[in-house]
Amino acid sequence: MYGGGNVFEATKFDNLQTEDPAKLAEFEARIAHGEKIEPNDWMPELYRKQLIRMIEQHAHSEIIGALPEGTWITRAPGFRRKMAQMAKVQDEVGHAQLLYSAAETLGKTREQMLTDLINGKSKYSNVFNYPAYTWADSNIISWLIDAGAIVNQMANAKGSYGPYSRALERICAEEAFHLKYGHDAVVHMATGSPKQREMIQAALNRWWPPIMTFFGPSDKMSTHTETLMRWKVKMASNDECRQQFLDMYVPKIWELGLTVPDPKLKKNMETGQWEYTEPDWDEFKRVINGDGPCNAERLAVRRTAEERGAWVRRALLNPKAKYVKPLA
C-alpha cells in the first residue's frame, strides 16, 4: 500500500550535465518508444537514485503498513475475518519482499534499506503514522487505503523500470482482493447493528483527512517532476490520482449511507473535477517529518524487530562463526 507522489526531490538540470549526451538521448528514446529499462542497461544516475528512493519507500510502506492492520489479526471477529485479515497482511509483507528485491537490482541492499528506515533516513507512506483505534479503522484501511494504493500503483505499473513495473503488476492483482475484502468488511459494518454503524462512521471520520493527503501535496505546490514524468518514473500527478480516487470511491461511500466528513466535497459537473476542503498540508509536512501520532511507535516496533532478529541474520550469513565472549 503506497500513495507515493509526495517525496520527489526537484530535478535539477545540473544533475544531467555529467551524463553522456548520446547515451542519454538513446535512453530517452527507448523510454519514449515504450521500452522497459532493465537492471544492466545504461541509465542516468538521477534515474537510478529516484527509482531506488521510490521503490524503497514503497517497500517500507508495505512493512510499516502491516503494523496498524496487523494489530487486528489477533482480534479479528470470527474465523472468516481472522483468516482473511492474516492473509491480507501477509500479502503486504510479501509485497515488501518483492519490492526490496526490485530495488536491490539498482544496487542498494535490503539490509541498507532497512537500516535507513529505522534511522529515519528514508520515508514511508505518511498515512501509517496514524493509529488504527478500532476494528473499523482496520476495515477502512483495507478498503480505502488499498483503493488509493491501487490507483497509484496501476499508474506506476506502466512505468519504465522493468523490475518495478513487473512487481507492481503482481502486487495490483493481490491488492484487488484486498479491496474486495475491505469493501465487504465495511459493508457488513455499515449495514450492521447501530454499534457497528457508529464504529465505521467514526473510523471514516478519523481516516478521511489522512486519505485526502495519501497522494501527496497538491500539484500547485509540488516540486517540478517533468523529467521524472518524461522518464516514466512518475506516471500521474498527485491531483490526477486524487481526482480518480474520489471519482471511484466517494459514490461507493455514499451508497453505504456513510457521511464523508467534508462539507465542501462535491463534484463540479461543469469541470468534471471534485471540489474539497484543502487538506492541512502543514500538518502533512509535520507528520512526514516525524511529528505524527505514531511515527515514533512505528519505527520503534521496526527497530525492535530488527534488533531481536539480528542473531538469526548473523547465523544465516556466517553459519560457522564462533561467538567471542567478552573478556570482562
Partner: protein, 251 residues
C-alpha cells in the same frame, strides 16, 4: 462409538491448532527476516484453517458453531496442551516450539488418516499434506541454525530445554484413550510420542543441540482437561475483543 470420546479428541486437535495458529500470527510484521515473517503467517493461516475444519466436525456432532466455540469459551474450557499457549518469546523459542509441535502433529494426522471414524480420517488425509510443509520448514531451520553460530546454538539449546516439559504435555492421555485405541479411531498418545521421539532425535543429531534426558522431566500435564498457564486467558480475551462487542452481529 462413544461420541464423547470423539468430541474429546476433536477438541484437543482443534484447540491446539487454533491457539498455535494464533501465536504464529503474532509474528506478522515482526519476523527476523521477511521470509520468516511470511512463513509464520502462512503456517498460522493453515493452522487456523485446520482448527475450523475440526470445529466444523464438532458442529456436525451437535456442538455450537465454530465461531461461538472458538470465540466465547473461557480458558478452562480449552483442551489444548500448554505448549501452544506459551508466549512467542524470542524467535528461538517460537522455532523450537514449532519444531516440537509440528513433528508430533504430522504423526497425529498420519495416524488419524487411517481412523475408523471416517469424518476425521477424511479431514486428516487432506490436512497432513499441509502439515508436511510445516515440518519441512521447522526441520530445515533447526538444522541450519542448530549448527551455525555459537550464539544461535546457545539460544536454541536454552529454548529446547525450556520447551521440552511443555512439549511432553502434548501426549497427556485422555480419559478415553483405551476406548479410542480399541475402536481404531486413534492410535493413542503413547504411539504418537514414540514415533515423535524418533523423528526429532533424527533431526537433532544433525545439529550441535542436545535433547535433554526425557526420563528426568516432569511433563506439564493439565491442558487437556482445562488446566492452563496464566497466558491462555489473556490470549482468548484479545481474540474475542471485537467479537464480544456484539456476538449476534455479523462482522
Amino acid at each position: 462409538m462413544n461420541e464423547l470420546a470423539i468430541k474429546d479428541l476433536l477438541y484437543k486437535l482443534a484447540d491446539d491448532q487454533l491457539i498455535l495458529g494464533h501465536r504464529n500470527s503474532e509474528w506478522t510484521g515482526f519476523g527476523p527476516i521477511l521470509e520468516e515473517d511470511i512463513a509464520f503467517s502462512s503456517m498460522a493461516q493453515d493452522k487456523i484453517g485446520h482448527s475450523l475444519a475440526f470445529y466444523t466436525l464438532l458442529q456436525d456432532l451437535g456442538e455450537a458453531d465454530p465461531d461461538t466455540v472458538a470465540f466465547t469459551r473461557n480458558a478452562n474450557q480449552f483442551h489444548n496442551s500448554q505448549l501452544v499457549e506459551l508466549p512467542n518469546g524470542e524467535y528461538d523459542f517460537s522455532l523450537i516450539r514449532h519444531f516440537l509441535y509440528d513433528n508430533a502433529e504430522i504423526i497425529r494426522f498420519e495416524m488419524l488418516s487411517q481412523s475408523s471414524y471416517e469424518p476425521i480420517a477424511k479431514v486428516a488425509t487432506k490436512l497432513k499434506g499441509e502439515v508436511k510443509y510445516h515440518v519441512l520448514h521447522a526441520n530445515t531451520w533447526i538444522k541450519n541454525l542448530g549448527s551455525s553460530t555459537e550464539e544461535a546454538i546457545l539460544r536454541l539449546q536454552s529454548s529446547l530445554t525450556e520447551a521440552i516439559p511443555y512439549a511432553l504435555s502434548m501426549f497427556e492421555p485422555s480419559k478415553f484413550e483405551q476406548e479410542l485405541i480399541e475402536s481404531s479411531v486413534y492410535a493413542g498418545e503413547e504411539a504418537v510420542k514414540a514415533e515423535w521421539l524418533k523423528r526429532i532425535q533424527a533431526v537433532i543429531e544433525k545439529t550441535d543441540l542436545k535433547l535433554p534426558d526425557l526420563h528426568t522431566i516432569e511433563p506439564k500435564f493439565g491442558g487437556r482437561h482445562g488446566e492452563h498457564t496464566e497466558h491462555l486467558q489473556p490470549l482468548l480475551d484479545e481474540m474475542a475483543e471485537v467479537f464480544k462487542i456484539d456476538p449476534t452481529a455479523e462482522w
